[in-house]
């Protein structure tokens, strides 16, 4: 909201963005977060290179073996290598996190902007729907949608995306509404610029900052949601490893094989931390109040 408090022509947006990048680069914790995210992406993409063993090969006689040189994170209840499973689990976590936020972000932004732009009944309907969806805690919405759709990776991504959608539509709606009434938009409209061009040229660039902050913070939440839904047992098809499922399977052995839940839990913690650090950094960098 604050970023658009002033009237900003396009050139101003670019300049401000550059200042934002500089501010971000000066923020050490944010950079640490960014490096961690980059590392996670690398691990996810090159999982087969990093994983020392197969993540799905079972060896039941070695089940629940404690960490060793050969298996630094120990083995799970099927005798599978926990390190390799944590590494492969990065793929699901990031896939679900990024994709559901992208989907939910696009859908939510569209809803918010269209509502602001069209006004009237469309706006009323879209924003009340947003209010209804926002009234539920995220896990409950996710659970409800998943209960209707049934379990599975893509269904889970859709469920989380729908959970995230109202957050974006709410954030996109306000600024879009205020920018719509600014003189430069009126001027553009007066010289006959079409709706779509006004949207992409004038409105979206002005709210992209907030949306990016929201996206990075919600990526962390989406990963947490994925883990929670997997923990409940409604996640991805086995034997594909996911952190939530691993944590869940380990809880039974919490007192005799703590490594089983511990390592996927740590991976989850670090990943959520990384995205939160980036999100906080972005918010600070894009907030005009914190800019010099």
């Amino acid at each position: 909201m604050m970023a658009v408090a002033r009237e900003l022509p396009v050139a101003g947006v670019r300049e401000r963005r550059w200042r934002g990048v500089q501010a971000f680069a000066r923020n050490r914790t944010a950079l640490v977060g960014l490096v961690m995210v980059a590392l996670l992406l690398l691990i996810a993409v090159a999982a087969p290179v990093f994983a020392p063993h197969s993540p799905i090969e079972q060896s039941t006689i070695h089940r629940l073996e404690p960490p060793s040189r050969e298996y630094p994170f120990g083995r799970d209840d099927f005798g599978r290598d926990i390190l390799s499973r944590v590494i492969y689990g990065t793929r699901i976590a990031l896939l679900v996190g990024l994709l559901s936020v992208a989907l939910g972000g696009i859908l939510g932004t569209a809803m918010g902007v269209v509502a602001a732009f069209r006004g009237g009944r469309t706006e009323a309907w879209l924003m009340r729907l947003t209010d209804v969806l926002l009234a539920f805690p995220d896990l409950i919405t996710g659970l409800l949608i998943l209960a209707v759709l049934g379990p599975g990776l893509w269904k889970m991504i859709i469920a989380i995306a729908l959970t995230i959608t109202p957050r974006f539509s709410r954030i996109a709606h306000g600024p879009a509404l205020s920018i719509k009434r600014r003189d430069f938009v009126e001027a553009a409209r007066a010289i006959g610029v079409g709706d779509a061009r006004i949207l992409f040229r004038h409105i979206l660039p002005n709210i992209v900052g907030e949306l990016l902050v929201l996206a990075s913070l919600w990526t962390a939440s989406a990963i947490r949601l994925e883990a929670s839904l997997s923990f409940i047992g409604l996640g991805v098809r086995p034997p594909t490893p996911t952190w939530g499922q691993m944590i869940r399977d380990g809880t039974v052995h919490l007192t005799n094989a703590p490594w089983f839940s511990l390592f996927p839990g740590l991976a989850l913690l670090l990943t959520i931390l990384a995205f939160n650090l980036v999100g906080d950094g972005l918010r600070d960098a894009l907030d005009p109040k914190t800019q010099a």
Partner: protein, 594 residues
């Protein structure tokens, strides 16, 4: 030592503070989520599968019994003399979120069976801790059957005198008579008032005098098949005519009135059921002041409550590593006992490519019994079994030796499996999509099977769904291979429900759980059912089991025993080998020495 306790207490609060999976789901319901959407999820959390009786309906876990909404229902005020001061209350942490029903003729979930077992009696009973032997309970002795001239069979029971019913909210304590027994058995036989009515088809019950009951059976049954129907299991429990008539069938679901060593005191929904000693018990006053059943669905909470001394007995985890861990504690003891639930494969012979016997055999040769045992930590929790009917617990099953002699033990042989697939023209493998429950016992077995089949080129896509959805889907015939985990009280029930053509899912005349569409042993099952010579009957059942394995339609993986943890201060008063009530058994002999 003190620090350790403090740490455990802290850990416990942490865990209890955190929502368990069930809590999350239940809260979801409370928050007003559509009941239709949450229903299946919620039901998934019930540990037990649907009631075994065909056609019997198990009421849903949240059935709105009167009083269930109020936090506490208090029973009758303390009766008679106060119990001696040294008697203790036994605290039992049950692996459940709540009771389902305490009407013994519907009780199927483990926690319900446990409580019913303490409150009620039957004409005869399985010896406490040993379900392989019967002894008289309300009857003075176990009778011998008589044949009538018209080919029927008559069993005459003489009742014990002086057996007193617990006093209830609407009945005084009174002496049990033949009227109660006839009323109760008729309730069990009524399909609207019992989940086990099918067990009593062809039976009539009559009062001869106040202490004599005559049961007529047509056609005659062997003792192996008849006695369980009047024992302390399912429909055999005897309920009080006056109490049930006064309170109604709904009210007794949360306020049972029986003749057993413990009587109902109070029920707090999702929290606890309190039972107190029945000092008028016909076998003598209990040595416990009562039993408090606490519902604790989180395994870690139960374990910590046992370690801290808050609980004396808790439901354990079906994993031998848990048993070891508990036994390492100086004051604790893990008990592993039957009856074991058999996990077995059902291969759909009506579905391509499993309609080719070579493909089914290939699948069986890919299976490594040891791997399926190992994911439960191996013995003593999980043990091998060589026919779907477990020879360890009932007549009619095959021992390892018998299975090997008949050439139906199978055993992992990957070369042979691949060769059989090649002969069937499927040398390049194929793929299957299977649905599994999210429950550990199912998911683990399916995941091991997935890995085993991968090695012979069969790709298995596994869809994990909640428990009740799986039960629904497999009954709609979606799975070409069904893993089922079940205990059934005798070979006839196992074979009829899983391998008689009448029970074929979807298409059978009385669809039940015949997932393999098998129809080759109907005559053997029917012949065995009416065979009154126990030895000949057992032989017929064994033949049926051999045929099932020869045709590769059913394959036993293992059975999973009951696992409990207890403080060494607890003495059950009997050795625990097997229990149909699925818990160690708390009787008038049970003690806690704190």
């Amino acid at each position: 030592m003190k620090n350790e306790r403090a740490f455990e207490g802290w850990l416990r609060t942490l865990i209890e503070g955190r929502s368990t999976r069930r809590d999350v789901l239940r809260r979801g319901l409370l928050l007003g989520m559509g009941a239709s959407a949450v229903g299946p999820l919620l039901a998934a959390c019930q540990r037990e599968e649907p009631a075994p009786a065909p056609g019997g309906a198990t009421p849903p876990p949240e059935s709105p019994a009167p009083g269930a909404g109020t936090p506490t229902m208090t029973g009758t005020p303390e009766a008679g003399t106060p119990p001696p001061a040294e008697r203790q209350v036994l605290n039992y942490g049950a692996n459940a979120a709540d009771i389902t029903t305490l009407d013994p003729h519907f009780a199927a979930a483990t926690q319900d069976r446990n409580i019913v077992d303490m409150v009620f009696n039957a004409l005869i009973r399985y010896k406490p801790g040993d379900s392989s032997e019967f002894e008289p309970d309300l009857a003075e002795e176990i009778p011998e059957p008589e044949e009538t001239a018209d080919g029927k069979q008559v069993w005459t029971f003489t009742l014990r005198r002086g057996v007193m019913w617990h006093a209830g909210p609407q009945n005084e304590s009174y002496e049990l008579t033949a009227d109660d027994v006839v009323y109760s058995l008729q309730k069990s036989a009524n399909k609207d008032r019992s989940a086990y009515s099918a067990d009593y088809a062809g039976m009539t019950f009559e009062k001869v005098d106040d202490y004599t009951v005559r049961i007529t059976v047509d056609p005659p049954l062997s003792p192996t098949l008849f006695l369980p129907k009047v024992a302390n299991y399912n429909g055999g429990f005897i309920v009080s005519q006056r109490a049930v008539e006064a309170m109604g069938d709904e009210a007794i679901k949360t306020h049972p009135i029986g003749t057993g060593p413990f009587r109902f005191k109070s029920y707090a929904s999702k929290d606890r059921v309190e039972l107190q000693a029945n000092d008028d018990y016909f076998r003598g006053s209990p040595r416990l002041a009562g039993v408090q059943v606490r519902f604790m669905s989180d395994p870690t909470s139960r374990e910590l409550a046992l370690k801290s001394g808050e609980m004396d007995v808790v439901g354990g985890v079906a994993d031998s590593t848990w048993v070891q861990k508990i036994n390492e504690e100086p004051n604790l003891q893990a008990d592993v006992f039957g009856v074991g639930e058999v996990a077995f494969l059902n291969l759909n012979m009506a579905r391509e490519p499993l309609n080719d016997i070579r493909v089914r055999q290939a699948i069986l040769y890919a299976i490594d019994r040891e791997a399926h045992l190992a994911v439960f930590g191996g013995p003593p929790v999980a043990e091998s079994v060589f026919s779907v009917v477990p020879a360890q617990f009932m007549p009619g099953g095959l021992t390892q030796e018998e299975a090997e002699q008949a050439g139906v033990a199978y055993g992992r042989d990957l070369d042979r499996a691949r060769q059989l697939l090649a002969e069937a023209g499927l040398g390049d493998g194929f793929s299957l999509t299977l649905v599994t429950s999210e429950m550990d016992a199912y998911r683990k077995n399916y995941e091991v099977l997935q890995e085993e089949l991968r090695e012979i080129g069969i790709t298995v896509e596994l869809d994990v769904v909640d428990h009740s959805t799986m039960h629904r889907l497999i009954r709609e015939d979606v799975n070409p291979i069904v893993i089922y985990i079940a205990f059934r009280p005798n070979a006839d029930v196992y074979l009829t429900q899983f391998f008689h053509s009448d029970s074929i899912v979807v298409t059978g005349p009385r669809p039940n759980t015949n997932f393999s569409h098998y129809n080759q042993i109907d005559d053997l099952i029917e012949q065995a059912r009416v065979e009154t010579d126990p030895e000949r009957q057992e032989e017929l059942w064994k033949q049926a089991n051999i045929k099932i394995l020869q045709d590769a339609v059913g394959f036993p993986l293992h059975y999973i025993n009951q696992v409990y943890g207890r403080s060494k201060a607890v003495d059950y008063g009997h050795e625990v080998k097997s229990s149909l009530a699925l818990y160690p058994g708390f009787t008038e002999q049970t003690t806690v020495q704190r």
